[in-house]
C-alpha cells in the first residue's frame, strides 16, 4: 500500500498539502523560532542538524493542529477507497 501511495504520486501531493497547511497555520514559524532559540542558547558553531531535529521533533509533533491531522487522514482514507476500487 505504501508503495502504491508513492508510485501514484499521492504521497508527494500529501506532503505538499501538509507543507502548505503547516505554513498557513504558523506552525513553521513557531518551529523556526524554536530552532533559533536552541541555536542561540548553544552557540552557533556547536549545533548539528541532528541535535536540532532531536530537540525540536517532540515539540513539533505535539503542536500540529488537530484539524490538519484530520484533513490529512481524510485525504488518505479517500485515497485508500479509490485505490481499492
Amino acid at each position: 500500500m505504501a508503495v502504491k501511495l508513492i508510485e501514484t504520486g499521492e504521497k508527494e501531493r500529501l506532503m505538499e498539502l501538509l507543507r502548505e497547511r503547516l505554513v498557513d497555520c504558523g506552525w513553521k514559524d513557531e518551529m523556526k523560532a524554536l530552532c533559533r532559540a536552541v541555536v542561540k542558547k548553544k552557540g552557533r558553531n556547536n549545533v548539528t542538524v541532528d541535535e536540532l531535529v532531536h530537540v525540536i521533533t517532540p515539540k513539533g509533533r505535539a503542536s500540529v493542529p488537530d484539524t490538519i491531522k484530520a484533513e490529512l487522514l481524510q485525504r488518505i482514507r479517500t485515497f485508500l477507497v479509490s485505490a481499492a476500487l
Binding site: E12, L17, V47, V49
Partner: protein, 592 residues
C-alpha cells in the same frame, strides 16, 4: 549550521568531507546521472531509476523520516535523529573503511555527514544540482542565464558604514548658534502635543489625491531626512539652473517662471519648499499651489481640476523628481541601481521574474526595477474577474486547489496578496510564452519575487478595475487587512529560490547579499492612503503613524485617531519603511 547560506558565509567543511574531497578524484560524478528533477520547478531528488522506491538497506523500510545514500558505495540507509538510537546510516559509516561518512539525502539532494551528524555543504555539488535543476534538460544549447559563476567570498563588499555618534564641537556649536534660530511655535501652542511636521494641506479643488500622497511623502523618514538636511537646496538649485539657462533675470524663488519654463520646473525644489513650510512649526494649513502648478507642467495630461488617481500621481511625481535630477546631472546611472535620485533611492526595488517552460524546463529570468508593488485583491467566490478565472484554470492540480480554498475563507490580508503575487503561476493555454529553447510557444510557469527591497515599500492595491470586455470601470470595495509590521523575507528571491532548490551554498542572486539580510526585510507601516466613495466621486484620506500614534490627515484637518479606525479603513496605498530606518525613539524626542 550557517544561517546565511545565500549570503555566502560558507560553513567550514567537516574533516570527513575535506578528506573525501581529497581522496576521490571525481567525487560526485556517479550521482550526476541519478539526479531527477520533478517536472519543471520541482525539487531535486536522487533515484537510480525514475520509478525506484528507495528503501533502507538494513531494515527495508521505505518511508522512515530520512533516507541517505552513501556517496561512495551508493548503499541506502535510514537515519534516525535521536543520538542514542541506532542509525543505519551511522552504522554504515562506522562499519566501512573511512570514506563512507558522506551521504546524500535521496529526497532533497543535500549532503550529510554521518559521522558529524550534520548537514554539510559542498560548492561544486550544490552548483551541479542547481544547474541540473535550472536546465532540467541537459541538452540545453544556452547556458542558463540566471546562474552567475560562483563568487569568491571576498567579493562580499561591505556596504554599510558603521554608525558614529556626533556631538558638535565648540566651533560647530558656535556656527549652529549664529546661523540658526529656534523654530517658532514651540511654546504656548495649543497644538504642541502634535508631532512636528503635521500640518494640514488645503484642498485646491479636487486635489485630495495629491494631498494624501504628499502627506505620506512628507513623513517618509528617508525622504524627510534628505530634504530637512538640506541635501536639495532650492536656492542653489535655482541659481545653478539660471546659470546654465538664460542667466540671471529670474529672481530667487518665485520669479522667472514665465521665462523658459522647462528649465525652471523642479519638483524637488517645490518639495524642499514644502518641507520647510510644513516643518516650520506653523500649524495653519498650507496650500501646495506652487507644487501643483509645477506638477501640472510636468504632467500636462493630468492638469485639470478633476479628481485623479492617487497612485498615478505618486508615480508621476516621483518620475518628475527623477527626470529633473537626471537632466541636471547627466549621469548615465542605470535606474535599477536606485542611485540616480532621491526618489529612486528611497522607493526603487528590483523585481525578479522567472518564466519556466513546462515542456523543457528552460527558465528565463528577468529583472525589472520597480518603485511600488501593485497587488491584486484576492478574488472572492463568484467574482468573475480575470484573476479568478486564471486560478480556476489550474485548480486541477491539487496544490493550487488547496491554496485557493485556504484563501477563500476569512478576510483577505496583505500577506495573502503578497503570497499570491510571488507564487508560481501557471500561464494557461491562452497566454503561451515563447520558449527560447523549444523555439515555439509553450505553456509556462511564472514566478515573481523581490530581488532587492526598497528602503520604503509602497503597496498599491488594485481597487479600480478596468474591464476591457465590458468597457467599464468599477471599484472593488472589499476590506483588506494589513499588518503594522511586515516581514518581507518570504517574498525575497533568495527565499523563493531556496524553497525551489533546497539548502545550498550557491550564489543564487549574485552580488546582493545584503538584500537577503534579515534586518532589512522587516518593515513598519507609517502611512496608509485610503479611498472612500465611488470610482468617480470619492475622497482620499491619509493616516499617518508618528511616534506610534495615528493621525488622520483629511486635507486641511488633522486629528488624532485610534489605531482601530486605521485597521478598519479601506486601504488603497500603504507605505512601509525598513524597520532600521524607522526611528521610534528619535521621533518621540523630536515630538516633545
Amino acid at each position: 549550521m550557517s544561517p546565511k547560506i545565500n549570503a555566502q558565509i560558507s560553513p567550514q567543511p567537516c574533516p570527513h568531507l575535506a578528506e573525501f574531497r581529497r581522496t576521490s578524484t571525481k567525487p560526485f560524478l556517479a550521482l550526476h546521472s541519478c539526479l531527477r528533477i520533478k517536472p519543471p520547478g520541482g525539487r531535486a531528488a536522487l533515484r537510480r531509476d525514475p520509478d525506484e522506491v528507495p528503501r533502507c538497506g538494513a531494515c527495508g523500510l521505505s518511508s522512515p523520516s530520512r533516507l541517505y545514500a552513501c556517496v561512495t558505495c551508493a548503499a541506502v540507509s535510514c537515519h534516525s535523529t535521536s543520538a542514542d538510537d541506532s542509525s543505519h546510516a551511522a552504522v554504515h559509516a562506522a562499519s566501512m573503511p573511512p570514506g563512507h561518512q558522506i551521504a546524500v539525502d535521496v529526497d532533497r539532494a543535500e549532503l550529510f555527514c554521518c559521522a558529524c551528524r550534520d548537514q554539510v555543504y559542498d560548492r561544486d555539488f550544490d552548483a551541479a544540482v542547481v544547474i541540473a535543476q535550472t536546465a532540467a534538460s541537459t541538452l540545453g544549447a544556452d547556458p542558463p542565464p540566471a546562474i552567475p559563476s560562483s563568487h569568491p567570498e571576498n567579493l562580499r563588499k561591505k556596504r554599510r558604514v558603521d554608525y558614529r555618534p556626533w556631538a558638535p564641537d565648540l566651533r560647530e556649536r558656535a556656527l549652529i548658534g549664529s546661523c540658526s534660530g529656534p523654530i517658532a511655535g514651540d511654546a504656548a501652542d495649543p497644538s504642541q502635543d502634535l508631532p512636528r511636521g503635521l500640518r494640514g494641506l488645503n484642498n485646491l479643488g479636487n486635489t485630495c489625491f495629491m494631498n494624501s500622497v504628499l502627506q505620506a511623502l512628507l513623513h517618509t523618514p528617508p525622504l524627510r531626512n534628505y530634504f530637512l538636511s538640506d541635501r536639495h537646496n532650492r536656492f542653489f538649485c535655482q541659481k545653478r539652473n539660471n546659470g546654465d539657462g538664460d542667466g540671471g533675470a529670474a529672481g530667487k524663488r518665485n520669479g522667472g517662471n514665465n521665462g523658459n519654463k522647462n528649465a525652471r520646473i523642479c519638483l524637488a525644489c517645490d518639495m524642499d519648499a514644502m518641507f520647510s513650510a510644513v516643518f516650520s512649526g506653523d500649524r495653519v494649513p498650507y496650500s501646495p499651489a506652487k507644487f501643483l502648478y509645477s506638477w501640472w507642467q510636468h504632467a500636462a495630461n493630468l492638469a485639470s481640476y478633476e479628481q485623479q488617481d492617487a497612485h498615478e500621481f505618486f508615480i508621476s511625481m516621483l518620475d518628475g523628481i527623477h527626470e529633473k535630477v537626471e537632466k541636471g546631472r547627466r549621469e548615465p546611472d542605470s535606474e535599477g541601481n536606485g542611485d540616480c535620485c532621491i526618489a529612486h533611492k528611497v522607493f526603487s526595488g528590483i523585481l525578479r521574474s522567472d518564466v519556466t517552460c513546462m515542456a523543457c524546463g528552460f527558465t528565463s529570468t528577468t529583472y525589472d526595477p520597480c518603485i511600488d508593488i501593485s497587488l491584486d485583491l484576492e478574488p472572492n467566490q463568484g467574482v468573475s474577474n480575470k484573476t479568478a478565472t486564471a486560478t480556476s484554470n489550474h485548480s486541477c492540480n491539487g496544490e493550487a486547489d488547496c491554496m485557493n480554498s485556504s484563501q477563500y475563507c476569512g478576510t483577505s490580508t496583505l500577506t495573502g496578496c503578497l503570497k499570491r503575487f510571488t507564487r508560481a503561476e501557471r500561464l494557461g493555454a491562452d497566454q503561451k510564452f515563447f520558449c527560447r529553447q523549444c523555439q515555439v510557444r509553450q505553456e509556462t510557469l511564472k514566478q515573481m519575487s523581490i530581488r532587492k527591497l526598497p528602503l520604503v515599500s509602497c503597496f498599491h492595491i488594485k481597487r479600480f478595475e478596468h474591464s476591457s470586455t465590458r468597457k467599464m470601470s468599477r471599484k472593488v470595495d472589499r476590506y483588506l487587512q494589513f499588518p503594522f509590521s511586515l516581514d518581507m523575507s518570504p517574498y525575497l528571491s533568495s527565499t523563493i529560490l531556496r524553497s525551489r532548490f533546497g539548502n545550498r551554498i550557491f550564489p543564487f542572486d549574485g552580488d546582493e547579499p545584503d538584500a537577503s539580510d534579515e534586518l532589512c526585510s522587516e518593515f513598519e507601516l507609517f502611512a496608509v492612503v485610503t479611498h472612500t466613495g465611488k470610482l468617480d466621486a470619492g475622497h482620499y484620506v491619509t493616516y499617518l503613524r508618528l511616534s506610534n500614534r495615528w493621525y488622520k490627515c483629511d486635507d486641511a484637518w488633522i486629528t488624532q485617531v485610534d489605531e482601530n479606525i486605521v485597521r478598519a479603513a479601506q486601504c488603497y496605498m500603504m507605505f512601509y519603511v525598513q524597520k532600521m530606518l524607522y526611528y521610534k525613539a528619535t521621533d518621540k524626542q523630536v515630538a516633545s
